[in-house]
Amino acid sequence: MTQTLGATEALAPRAQRIVNILREKLSPSVLELKDDSKKHAHHHARIEAGEDGETHFVIRLRSAKFNGITRVARHRLVNELLADEFRSGLHSASFILQDEKSA
């Protein structure tokens, strides 16, 4: 399930928080989020998080904020914005981070 996010889809709590943070801080022109947690059902982090655990996401995001900065810098920026989520059980997120020029 990939969601290209409009304003009103109902998302699970962590997914919703992630979307809110990224929207607010990065003003993305594209933001897609996919919850991949079920694919990692036997993963230790999933088991610790319980059945409804949202632990694994794939996120594609395009933002002018990424213009002119390296990949590592883009990932560090997003990791920093999501630091509280990583601390509270988000196990991994796979990111595709594009600037507005690479479209």
Partner: protein, 111 residues
């Protein structure tokens, strides 16, 4: 992070030109993201060393603090942090990883 863990990590990246901190080892990666980076490095044929962060809780947290990067795997080339699975995959596909290895003087094991 204890000083000994950060010293250990620093020694590893100083000693090994291509150093991968991962879950599991080259033969039996224990995570899909780690497996993918191993596969790319194997395919490129460069010599590399790995360390299994699952072997020590201290290292598993320590590598995250050391790199200020929240996930594993983590690839270092000549002491410099390159990135995790997303970045390594992307750099491989665009040819940038090959350029990086060439630039750093890292040649294929059989060359």
């Amino acid at each position: 992070m204890s000083q000994s863990v950060s010293q250990h990590i620093q020694q590893q990246i100083d000693k090994n030109p291509v150093m991968l901190f991962m879950k599991g080892d080259k033969l039996f990666p224990q995570c899909g993201f780690s497996a993918k980076v191993v596969q790319i490095l194997n395919h490129m044929g460069v010599p590399f060393e790995t360390e299994n962060v699952l072997a020590s809780a201290e290292l598993r947290q320590g590598i995250k603090d050391f790199s200020q990067w929240p996930t594993v795997p983590q690839l270092y080339v000549k002491g410099e942090f390159v990135g995790g699975c997303d970045i390594v995959t992307d750099m491989y596909q665009t040819g940038e990883l090959e350029s990086l290895f060439a630039e750093k003087g890292i040649t294929k094991a059989d060359a």
